[in-house]
């Protein structure tokens, strides 16, 4: 019984720890994702009509950027639906 309580307490504290770390770096995480999004956008701009670096730079780098491309696609899909996401992130109330 006591050990169960102890494990529960430990889980609770590690959970709290996690929540705190989430809080402390949550927005940074979001920013980082957006930077990766921007990176891909800049790189592949010529593929979508915006001024961009010469296409061959993109061709050289794209094979190394699969995670960023995934983010890019995900973001493109959800880009119109960001109001709710930002309210949570910005801790308005």
């Amino acid at each position: 019984m006591l050990t169960k309580l102890w494990t529960y307490l430990k889980d609770f504290i590690s959970g709290m720890d996690y929540v705190h770390r989430e809080k402390a770096a949550g927005i940074t995480q979001w920013e980082e994702k957006e930077l990766e999004n921007i990176f891909i956008l800049l790189l592949t701009g010529s593929f979508s009509g915006i001024p961009a670096p010469p296409a061959f730079v993109a061709a050289e780098l794209l094979p190394l950027l699969s995670r960023e491309i995934k983010i890019f696609n995900q973001r493109a899909e959800n880009s119109f639906d960001t109001l709710a996401e930002m309210t949570g992130l910005l801790d308005i109330d």
């Binding site: 770096a25 990766e36 061709a59 995670r67």
Partner: protein, 309 residues
Amino acid sequence: MKTVFFTGKGGVGKSTLSAAAAWQIAQKGYRVLAVSFDPAHNLGDIFETKLTHRKKRFKDGLYLQEVDLEKAASEYVKASMNLMKEVYGYLQSFNMDSYFSILKYSPGIDEYAALTALEKILAKEGTNFDYIIFDTPPTGLTLHIFALPGVTLAWLDRLIKLRKEILAKRFTIHNIQGKYAPEGVLLSYKETDDNVIKKLYELRARYSRVQEFLQGKDNQVVLVFNPDVLSLKESQRLLFGLEDLKLPFSIGFNNKVTGMSAETVKNIENELRKKFPSLKIQRILYSDNNLTAGYKLEEDIISPLLKGV
């Protein structure tokens, strides 16, 4: 290894003069490679031999090469497509095939293909030859090719800065949330671990090298012009462009002077000297002899070149 680029409006006699220069330098005992980027492919005609993408020995110490830009461009596109398919076959990001086949026509491919070919030649043939003489495509394309390293470097610098920011943020996140990172997600946060930034640095080094070489003392850009107003205008454009790009030029060949009034010739030259006082101008007569001599031009056009370089 030293390089000389012959530039000028189409039809002024670039190819002939560059061929002549190559011949004359080779006569002096140097090892010379003459390369033509001009889509008009005059080099082979001048030396009366069929030339290809690969260098061909004309005689000891003189090699000739015609760079096929179209071929280079399509090779590049094919290679990129294959690379993409290899890595992204499982990702339904882009519709590879239809997308990339259009790359052939995208702006910049010609320039890039030329630059890549130039890079390759500079890298490969440095030890094989003492002089590489280049015949360039018409002015616009030439300036774009010369500008490309600088433009690319500007973009690379921006991308590097952005990537560094990304890595810095990843490091912060790792520092704070590291032990709770979702499974299977390994984000590089150190420059030594990030393939993307390493690649960016590699690209920057490559283009820096080309840029430095082109702007350096082992390179020269030579202007060929005719004593007429159109040629003058184009030449000014070219020289301004070279100035902007900080490419070294000091010699101008006033070609096909024969038959033109002495006054016109002098006026054109003075106009040029007004804006570019350091330009040393040498006149080349245009006679029946020249026409048939082709590359075996009698006039010495290389002494200023050899001295100046």
